[in-house]
């Protein structure tokens, strides 16, 4: 199969859906001739024109409203926010409007949009351009939250997100855009939301990782394999709704679980994962405390070395997983 980068997979999914469905359009800042801050939509303006690839003024709240209002009235917009950090400015529309309209109106409407945004640190862009606030959105009933980590998953989940009748928040780990490369079918295909993927099988420790932490965990697992340890790596892919079953089953088998995310530890998604496990039937199978390895509780610093040390790296995952496997937590 031909290989695409993460970025190309996302672009292809959007392009193919827009060809298929007239009601899909893309809207965001500098997504037209500029192709978006990361080049994701480069070339799309040429094919679809300015009414379907809509450059906006710098007005994030307006973008949030534009996709919500359009979705309520029959369209399937894809909104792009240049960095997930700026979604703070659109939150009223996403949380108080989009997520709630259907329930508040007694089920008489729906809001089938998706909102895409790059997430995470590692690009030297400092505190206001490097956050991972996915758990905010997970906490809002009415929203679905997706975060793919391979080109294959990105295309399939993006298509499923566009076709989903609910507002979907779609986070793209920005370090993967150009670095992740892998086989992607040319045709349209959906990966259903709410299904986790076991990226690596094993028996000693279950790592539940999200976003950039998935490739890092896989690398860590390979390193540990050389030490004779056999590590599971599960990527929930959809953070809400969560595929609890896959996770619980795995933990029942291994008895040891390491949760890894890039977001700051306190109040993060790791808490949700830990709680889901701790209140499940897997609880009785746990041979060790549930361990969270997460971003430090600090804003992301600019300096490259500090930035590197602000979030889990392969060596940190190796160390934690090893400790867990050897029972000396």
């Amino acid at each position: 199969m031909r290989e695409l980068t993460f970025l190309e997979a996302i672009r292809e999914a959007m392009v193919q859906e827009m060809r298929r469905d007239e009601s899909v359009f893309l809207i965001g800042e500098d997504i037209g001739v500029y192709g978006g801050a990361f080049g994701v939509s480069l070339g799309m303006l040429d094919e679809f024109g300015p009414e379907r690839v809509i450059d906006t003024p710098i007005s994030e709240l307006g973008i949030g409203g534009a996709i919500t209002g359009a979705a309520m009235t029959g369209m399937r917009p894809i909104g792009e926010i240049m960095f997930m950090d700026f979604m703070t400015l659109a939150l009223d529309q996403l949380v108080n409007q989009a997520a709630k309209l259907r329930f508040m109106f007694g089920g008489t409407t729906k809001v089938p949009f998706m909102m895409r945004a790059p997430i995470g640190s590692g690009a030297g862009a400092a505190a206001q351009h490097s956050q991972s606030l996915e758990n905010w959105y997970v906490h809002v009933p009415g929203l679905k939250v997706v975060m793919p980590t391979t080109p294959y998953d990105a295309k399939g989940l993006l298509i499923a997100s566009i076709r989903d009748d609910n507002p979907v928040i779609f986070f793209e780990p920005k370090l993967l855009y150009k670095k992740a490369k892998g086989p992607v079918p040319e045709e349209l295909y959906e990966i259903p939301l709410g299904v986790a993927d076991v990226k690596r099988k094993g028996k000693d420790v279950s790592i539940i990782a999200t976003g950039m932490m998935v490739p890092r965990s896989l690398e860590a697992a390979e390193a540990l394999a050389e030490e004779g340890l056999d590590i599971v790596v599960i990527d929930p892919r959809t953070l809400r709704p969560l595929d609890e079953e896959t996770i619980v089953k795995s933990v029942m088998k291994t008895g040891r679980v390491l949760i890894v995310h890039e977001a700051c530890k306190t109040g993060g998604y790791g808490g949700e994962l830990a709680a889901v496990i701790a209140e499940s039937q897997a609880f009785d199978y746990l041979d060790a405390p549930i361990v969270r390895l997460a971003g430090k509780d600090i804003p992301i610093p600019y300096n490259r070395t500090l930035e590197y040390n602000a979030v889990p790296q392969v060596e940190n995952i190796v160390a934690e997983a090893r400790k867990l496997a050897k029972g000396n937590v």
Binding site: P57, L61, G62, G69, A70, G74, F105, T108, K110
Partner: protein, 320 residues
């Protein structure tokens, strides 16, 4: 514009019905039959009715928290409206929304709104839908004078203007946010002057004159349908009652309220029609009585409607 007698009588009926709805709302509140909050628009009926009179089937409306008369003018089913107000299963939102969220999305009334200014960005999206469909639909977006100080106002009017979206922004300027007089909330005299920041036309009208509102909004709609883009219409009016439920009116004088109550848009419109000889006092009284009866019957309907079933509580969060 000349408007025929029956249409005008219809407007009068709508204003009376909106008024009757809210008088009843107050009563139900006093009786302890309403659990939640509500915002009454008594005294502002001409703004809602005159505006909505200018739209046609297929157009969209985005309402506000002070939206009862907007809904009545839109032609909402009074029974379902009242049932929603009372939190009943037969309500527009199955009792989930209440006064602040009554909506009829399938019919084009895209909802009352609990977030001040929160509906304004939605209008941009509605405009994009229409543009995509290439129909001559338009969207009327109501909001208050207070909402005009939210960032949402600014971003949305700008976006609507650059894309020439078919939106009419209708500011119901009732002189106050909750307690803040517009004189303290902004350093300009007319909110419509802000239209210039976006390169769109802005006009201020006597919002207690239903005909003036109808004409101004009608002009703006004509522009919008013709692809000439959005406009801002400011209806100057006043709310008679407190901000919500009740309030102590510490922020305004009895005299001011009394002055504005003398400008009652219903009495004024009815008086004109009687003076012109197109309506008799008896007919007017009949309209008022009919309105009250329609509301009483709506209360009966709502009273008879069951509470929502608790077992359905999780329904409607997601499309499954």
């Amino acid at each position: 514009m000349s408007v025929d007698k029956n249409t005008r009588i219809d407007w009068l009926r709508q204003m009376y019905t909106g008024r009757a709805f809210e008088e009843m709302a107050e009563k139900l509140y006093a009786l302890g039959k309403i659990h939640g909050t509500m915002h009454l628009s008594m005294g502002m009926e001409a703004s809602a009715v005159g505006t909505i009179a200018a739209i046609k089937e297929g157009d969209y409306i985005l309402g506000t928290h002070r939206g009862h008369t907007q809904l009545v003018a839109y032609g909402a089913d009074l029974n379902r409206m009242m049932a929603e107000f009372m939190g009943k299963a037969a309500g527009y939102c199955r009792g989930r929304g209440g006064s602040m969220h009554i909506a009829d999305v399938p019919g084009g009334y895209l909802g009352a709104q609990g977030i001040v200014g929160g509906n304004i960005p939605l209008s941009v999206g509605v405009g994009l839908t229409i543009r995509n469909r290439k129909t001559d639909q338009i969207c009327v977006c109501f909001f208050g004078d207070g909402a005009a100080n939210e960032g949402a106002f600014h971003e949305s009017l700008n976006m609507a203007a650059i894309w020439k979206l078919p939106i009419v922004f209708v500011c119901e300027n009732n002189q106050y946010g909750m307690s803040m007089n517009i004189k303290n909330a902004m350093a300009i005299d007319q909110i419509s002057d802000r239209a210039a920041s976006y390169g769109m036309p802005g006009i201020t009208v006597d919002g207690n004159d239903v005909m003036a509102v109808y004409e101004a909004v009608g002009e703006a709609i004509k522009r919008a349908r013709a692809g000439e883009g959005p406009s801002l219409v400011e209806n100057n009016t006043y709310r008679w009652r407190g901000h919500s439920k009740s309030d102590a009116n510490r922020y305004r004088t009895k005299e001011e309220i009394a002055k504005w109550m003398k400008k009652d848009p219903i009495a004024r419109f009815q008086g004109q029609m009687i003076k012109e000889g197109v309506l008799t006092q008896a007919e007017a009284d009949q309209i008022a009585t009919d309105a009250k009866e329609a509301i009483e019957s709506a209360v009966k309907f709502a009273d008879a409607s069951p509470e929502p079933d608790v077992s359905t509580i999780l329904e409607g969060v997601y499309v499954e």
